[in-house]
């Protein structure tokens, strides 16, 4: 309290604290903007052979929006983490540059341009993040509506199965179509609702879930009556895999729950049970669901000619590997490779596109950015004062990490390929919206934990 220098007036007084973190954020944002604009210009020089100002202007518009977010933080979350916004901005911008590069190759122009749509969605997503920050002044409000978020997650998950609203894309029923033109994946938003619900639920019930039951095989097992929640989440995840035919999302939800359950209860036995359930589910899925079997076949024997030629076979996977191989250590250079040969090069396979043109070096840099992003989330978990905030921060960060792992692991044959999208990078509005809201929530949480007293009631 040494810096309290104002004369006593008997009023509530705001302490003037230099916005050290926000200034740092602004300092990191400037190179981030330079990277994004350079990427767009390099794409144009590489693929078009000349500079086209239209997209640069749109890119500059985005920069204004990000600055808007930055200024918002200066007012409503001045102690928020300074790295989160720059990382999300760079990833989002590199994604736009690569999507634009695919647009050029495919001849998409005007409103057919996926990059222009992506920029529009980014604008909406950042606006949503600003709104979240303005509306949600304290994350503990979310705790109050724990079960409402649980219900919301369920509704969002079920929406694509509603006849007339649901829309099947590439075999997966995870889309809804509004008015025939606005396609949206509610599952992306559901993962935020689920993280809030899990955090609230686990904080309320962790004591019961931590109770020890019988000891068996040298491990303290939980009580049988506490199995309910885990079984329900497992059933929901399996339901997503079976009815929505979306392997990745099911895996993501279940992994998120397991992680949060473990952090909340500290019981390793939960992980063991969860993983057993998951393995059992996976075995059943491989044996009964044709699309899952196809994914596993393609994963194990991608170069087998019959698998390569099969519908839903390994063609995309192998083309992605060829692209990555072409990129080698340093990449072909932006705009100078042929990432568009691989199907879905701008969305599910954007990481292979980036690997082709930016090389192993570029991918390492991108992975490092994600790692840093996730680390900032975990930091909230470590430093947080309330368990709900801690759990929510960890859950949101882990869901991003797990999604990156499943997507890149799928492309590089660590795990079977799923239809998940790369956070911030891949083309897709729902994904962008969800991930920018995660950004807003992490910013809010990080602001709370660092909230130094700056309101003083003078006597």
């Amino acid at each position: 309290m040494n810096d309290v220098t104002a004369p006593p007036t008997g009023k509530v007084k705001r302490i003037r604290v230099p916005q050290r973190l926000r200034n740092l954020e602004l300092g990191i944002l400037i190179p981030a903007f330079v990277i994004i604009l350079s990427a767009i210009v390099l794409v144009q020089l590489g693929a078009l052979g000349h500079v086209d100002t239209q997209l640069i202007v749109l890119g500059a518009g985005l920069i204004v929006l990000v600055l808007g977010l930055h200024i918002t933080l200066r007012f409503v979350a001045r102690d928020a983490d300074p790295f989160i916004v720059p990382i999300a901005t760079v990833l989002n911008g590199i994604g736009i540059a690569m999507i634009y590069r695919i647009d050029i190759a495919e001849g998409n122009e005007g409103w057919d341009s996926i990059a222009v749509k992506q920029i529009a969605w980014t604008a909406i997503a950042i606006a949503a993040a600003i709104t979240t920050l303005l509306v949600l002044r304290n994350h503990r409000i979310l705790f109050r509506y724990t079960y409402l978020f649980g219900l919301a997650a369920l509704v969002l998950l079920l929406l694509p199965l509603v006849p007339g609203l649901g829309n099947e894309v590439n075999g997966a029923r995870v889309w809804i179509s509004l008015g025939g033109f606005l396609n949206f994946q509610p599952g992306e938003l559901a993962k935020i609702a689920l993280a809030i619900f899990f955090a609230g639920y686990l904080v309320r019930n962790r004591d019961a879930l931590s109770m020890t039951g019988p000891k068996f095989l040298g491990i303290q097992w939980p009580r049988m009556r506490d199995f309910g929640p885990l079984l329900i989440v497992w059933a929901v995840a399996m339901g997503v895999i079976v009815f929505q035919r979306d392997l990745g999302t099911g895996l993501l939800y279940f992994g998120l729950f397991l992680c949060m359950l473990y952090v909340a209860t500290g019981r390793f036995s939960w992980i063991a049970i969860g993983l057993s359930l998951f393995v059992a589910g996976a075995i059943i899925a491989v044996q009964t669901l044709e699309y899952v079997r196809g994914r596993v076949d393609a994963w194990l024997n991608p170069f087998d000619q019959s698998v390569y030629d099969a519908t839903g076979g390994s063609y995309q996977l192998v083309q992605g590997l060829f692209g990555l191989a072409k990129g080698s250590m340093l990449g072909t250079g932006l705009g100078q490779g042929r990432p568009y040969i691989t199907p879905l090069a701008e969305s599910d396979y954007i990481i292979a596109s980036l690997g082709e043109e930016l090389g192993l070096a570029g991918l390492f840099a991108i992975f490092a950015l994600y790692l840093l992003f996730v680390e900032r989330g975990f930091r909230i978990g470590f430093a947080g004062q309330d368990d709900f905030g801690k759990l929510l921060g960890v859950g949101l960060a882990f869901v991003v990490a797990l999604q990156v792992f499943v997507v890149v692991g799928g492309v590089t044959r660590v795990v079977p390929l799923t239809g998940l999208t790369m956070p911030f990078l891949a083309a897709g509005g729902s994904s962008l919206l969800a991930n920018w809201i995660i950004v807003a929530l992490l910013l809010r949480l990080s602001d709370t934990i660092r909230n130094h007293p700056r309101l003083v009631i003078e006597s």
Binding site: L324, L371, D387
Partner: protein, 484 residues
């Protein structure tokens, strides 16, 4: 809670480390294997992104690469495609190349080991890589004349330079447009290719150097006369019995002369007359007297039973081994199991024109680097001495006589002495004949050796014969260059 969080952090770090390792494995360790996979179209596109050298005939490009807007960067253009298809071949995006595109692919694409320093130089001087150009020996005037003269017939015309073996014209019909196989649309290429394969007239055959080989018919009598004269036991005046029909030794099959009667009257007939009037019976008798071994030896000196790379691979003409007397007798007039390409018969004529020496046939004069320095220059190469100078002179006279007073009269050109021999080869019972002409001109200073082969009886079934159909084609081609 923080203890669990620490473990989750370690797990997350392990997940990311896995990704660092898996991408390294693919982008570094497996990259060479992935690049070499036959399904890797990126590697294919890379090979197209080099500006391929042109193929040139008479100073004009017959195949060249022009920049294109698509992934391949360059589009191969075949100027007057069907005319030159036999030479250029084609380079499809999704299949094997043929013709010169295949035979000289390393040079055209700039990857030949001899081009290593040139391409290195281009890299260091910041120039785009580029392949070498091929200057062919083909003569645009002669090629066009051969194309026009062959008209709609199914067959081939080949013109060579006797003293060098350079091929000046090579036409095969029906043919195809290589541009249709060079489009940058895989399915379109497959469709066009399948249509050509399914076409019963086999347009993909180069009938000048291969395809379904035909018996050479009476043009093979040149090889017979050469064998006889080279043996030293015969002269043009040697005589043979002259019956109107001849029963093959050890067989009941009967052979007749083409007119049905004797060969020019008289109880005996000379070798010179038998060649001039193209009689079968004396040649059958001669074949039995010489024996198949001697004929084969002579035929092989002319190039039979050898595949020549011109540099495109060609099919070997065939004079088979271990024939009995009846089979040998049939080969005496180019029937039975003897088969020949027009290229082979052109080599026979060219050898007679070239003082008895067979030159290796070739279509390439020079290969020129992008910086216009010479990468390689083809030198005329001797294959073998087939016959002595004396025999060559004697046979030239006999062939001139065949055109002026004999069975090849329709090849006569005013003011130019033409040496020639016609042929009418039979296939199965009732099948249309294959009609031949082979010869050279001018007889006193041979510049062009020509062979014309028309399949399917020239549309006349068994009514067509060499002098009616093939000889006038040769005359028309030669007139285009000799009688200007």
């Amino acid at each position: 809670m923080n203890r669990e969080l620490k473990r989750v952090s370690i797990l997350t770090l392990a997940m990311f480390l896995t990704l660092f390792v898996s991408t390294s494995i693919i982008q570094f360790f497996q990259a060479p294997n992935l690049d070499a996979d036959a399904r890797n179209t990126r590697t294919l596109y890379d090979s197209y992104s080099v500006e391929r050298g042109a193929i040139v005939a008479s100073g004009a490009a017959i195949a060249s690469s022009v920049p294109s807007d698509d992934a391949y960067q360059f589009q191969r253009i075949y100027a007057n495609g069907p005319l030159w298809a036999t030479v250029t071949g084609y380079l499809p995006i999704n299949g094997e190349a043929t013709g010169m595109e295949a035979a000289l692919n390393p040079e055209l694409s700039g990857n030949a080991s001899s081009q290593f320093f040139d391409s290195l130089n281009r890299i260091f001087t910041g120039q785009d890589p580029k392949g070498a150009s091929v200057e062919t020996s083909l003569d645009a005037t002669l090629q066009q004349a051969a194309w026009d003269a062959l008209g709609d017939y199914q067959g081939a015309v080949i013109v060579t330079e006797p003293d060098s073996g350079r091929i000046l014209a090579m036409v095969s019909k029906p043919t195809f447009d290589p541009n249709s196989l060079a489009v940058h649309n895989g399915q379109q290429v497959i469709d066009s290719y399948q249509a050509l394969v399914d076409d019963p007239s086999d347009p993909l055959f180069n009938r000048a150097t291969g395809g379904d080989l035909n018996p050479p018919g009476s043009t093979f009598k040149l090889v017979m006369v050469a064998t006889a004269l080279e043996s030293g036991q015969y002269t043009p005046d040697s005589t043979f019995p002259n019956p109107a029909s001849y029963t093959l030794p050890g067989s009941s099959s009967v052979v007749r002369n083409s007119g049905g009667g004797t060969c020019g009257g008289g109880a005996t007939v000379t070798l010179a007359t038998a060649l001039r009037l193209s009689c079968n019976i004396p040649m059958a008798e001669l074949a039995v007297e010489l024996g198949d071994a001697a004929i084969r030896q002579q035929a092989e000196k002319f190039g039979f039973n050898t595949e020549f790379d011109i540099p495109m691979p060609t099919e070997a003409s065939v004079y088979p081994r271990s024939l009995d007397d009846a089979q040998t007798a049939l080969t005496g007039f180019g029937q039975g199991q003897v088969l020949a390409t027009p290229l082979q018969m052109a080599m026979v004529s060219a050898a007679i024109a070239n003082d008895g020496i067979v030159m290796r046939p070739n279509t390439v004069d020079r290969i020129v680097n992008p910086n216009l320095t010479l990468l390689s220059e083809m030198q005329p190469e001797e294959y073998d001495r087939a016959i002595s100078s004396a025999t060559a002179r004697t046979m030239t006279e006999m062939m001139v006589n065949g055109v002026e007073n004999g069975a090849a009269s329709n090849a006569t050109i005013d003011g130019v002495s033409v040496a020639g021999k016609t042929g009418t080869a039979e296939h199965g019972e009732g099948d249309p004949y294959t009609l031949w002409f082979t010869g050279f001109a001018p007889a006193d200073d041979p510049q062009y050796a020509i062979t014309v082969m028309v399949e399917n009886g020239g549309g006349l079934g068994q009514e067509g014969y060499g002098n009616l159909i093939a000889a006038p084609i040769a005359k028309q081609v030669l007139e285009a260059v000799l009688n200007k």
